[in-house]
């Protein structure tokens, strides 16, 4: 009896592990197929532009509004702590570095996974459930080149743009709280920021991070959609998995990338 239960427990564990590894491999294979068949998404660039509109432009509102509030909260919280040490002028550096290095890329990626990633997964999952992808294959049109690749490149293009806008609007929000509301000197705010934010180490590294997050988030969303069981329940589960996996991947990748960048 106990042996039987133990056997079932271990086979469950084994099946789970095999499933995870299989999904990782299938995801990697889809990534590779997307890369080698992405020629069409550049030759017919209009396909990609259309997807940039849906993933990027339509995400602008949520990204910009969140950035504004994040910047304002950073300034308030930072001021509260910094003024204890009599260095409230450093608020500009604090807001700018926090946004450009970390919060810009990471929060944008998390919002992007929720706003655009789920849409991609649901769309492709439904395309599969209604057999549109199979129909394309029947007509000798590769669904990877026609459907997957343009969405992938659109995500990779949109994410850094959104992240830079997030940082810029966040700094603006921080400025509005720090200078007119709290009364920090405007000159000190900007000059301390300019003296301590490095173009290459801080800004370009932040942009690089957002490109990596763009690849990860879009690819996870595409794979979950492509892999979803062709039922209503399957698509809904795939959408949930997109958000969970993307968020975890972004936070994990953020640690790895940061540790490489700081160590140099």
């Amino acid at each position: 009896m106990v042996l039987h239960k133990l056997k079932r427990l271990f086979s469950k564990l084994g099946a789970g592990c095999i499933n995870k590894v299989w999904r990782l491999g299938a995801g990697g294979r889809l990534f590779w197929l997307t890369l080698i068949s992405s020629g069409e998404s550049f030759r017919r660039f209009r396909l990609t532009i259309r997807e940039v509109y849906f993933t990027g432009v339509l995400s602008l509102i949520i990204i910009l509004v969140s950035a504004f509030f994040v910047g304002m909260v950073l300034a308030l919280q930072g001021y509260h702590t910094l003024q204890k040490y009599g260095s409230s002028e450093a608020i500009g550096v604090l807001v700018a570095l926090a946004l450009v290095r970390e919060l810009g890329p990471v929060v944008t990626a998390l919002l992007f996974a929720g706003r655009a990633g789920t849409a991609i997964t649901a769309e492709i999952g439904l395309m599969k459930a209604t057999e549109q992808l199979s129909a394309m294959e029947m007509m000798a049109v590769s669904p990877i080149a026609r459907v997957i690749a343009p969405r992938f490149w659109a995500g990779v293009i949109a994410m850094p743009v959104l992240a830079t806008l997030f940082s810029m609007v966040g700094i603006l929000g921080g400025y509005l709280v720090a200078v007119p509301l709290i009364g920090v000197d405007a000159g000190a705010f900007w000059s301390q920021m300019q003296a301590n934010v490095d173009w290459e180490f801080d800004i370009l590294n932040g942009v690089f991070k957002s490109v990596v997050f763009g690849v990860a988030c879009t690819m996870i969303a595409l794979f979950e959609g492509y892999d979803a069981p062709p039922t209503a329940e399957g698509v809904s589960r795939a959408t949930t998995r997109t958000v969970v996996t993307s968020s975890l991947a972004v936070l994990g990748l953020d640690f790895i990338l940061t540790s490489f960048m700081i160590a140099v």
């Binding site: 209009r46 532009i49 259309r50 940039v52 509109y53 990027g56 432009v57 602008l60 700018a96 450009v100 293009i157 949109a158 850094p160 743009v161 959104l162 830079t164 806008l165 940082s167 810029m168 609007v169 700094i171 900007w190 920021m193 300019q194 003296a195 301590n196 934010v197 490095d198 173009w199 801080d202 800004i203 942009v207």
Partner: protein
């Protein structure tokens, strides 16, 4: 949605992204401040540079006149050779004094130039011979403790009078006196 509208919005989106990047570079980052037109190179030897780093500012009278371009160790003299890029608009006499200062108590370190009285100016490739090392806090404290200890060994019994003579009355602390005795 029509094709042209989508094109327009995507165009605006990407342009906004580039504008934000430009804004970060110009308004937030130090891309603009790091470049100082034409420069000439001079070197200075220090026995100890403390925490000085490449790209640290070179200041004279508090104004940034150049940047540290390179710091190397000279294995013959066991000194640090610091190369300074100084703006060609500013000329300094040959007997200029180079110090390593710290901005604030815990701030970054920079090089301060104090102009001398020589009529010949520094040229590209010249070497500043008069330098003063960075102040290392541990050294300063140990020197102070050492001088305190020897002082109270020499003159036992006197306390208040000797401490003013030593010229460090700002740092004078009565607990240290008691330790010395």
């Amino acid at each position: 949605m029509e094709r042209t509208t989508i094109d327009l919005w995507v165009g605006i989106f990407v342009a906004l992204g580039f504008a934000a990047l430009l804004g970060l570079a110009m308004k937030v980052g130090n891309l603009t401040t790091s470049s100082i037109g034409q420069t000439y190179l001079v070197t200075a030897n220090f026995e100890n540079i403390g925490g000085l780093k490449p790209r640290a500012p070179v200041k004279s009278a508090g104004v940034v006149v150049g940047r540290v371009s390179e710091i190397v160790f000279d294995p013959k003299t066991y000194e640090a050779v610091v190369s300074l890029n100084i703006d060609t608009r500013y000329n300094f006499p040959k007997d200029t004094f180079a110090n390593i200062y710290t901005a604030g108590l815990l701030g970054e370190q920079y090089i301060g130039l104090e102009a001398g009285g020589d009529e010949v100016n520094l040229k590209n490739g010249d070497k500043i011979s008069q330098t003063q090392d960075a102040v290392v806090l541990e050294k300063l404290i140990s020197q102070f403790l050492y001088s305190k200890a020897t002082e109270s060994d020499d003159k036992p019994g006197k306390t208040a009078a000797t401490s003013t003579e030593s010229g460090v009355d700002a740092l004078d602390a009565s607990p240290l006196d008691k330790i010395g005795k």
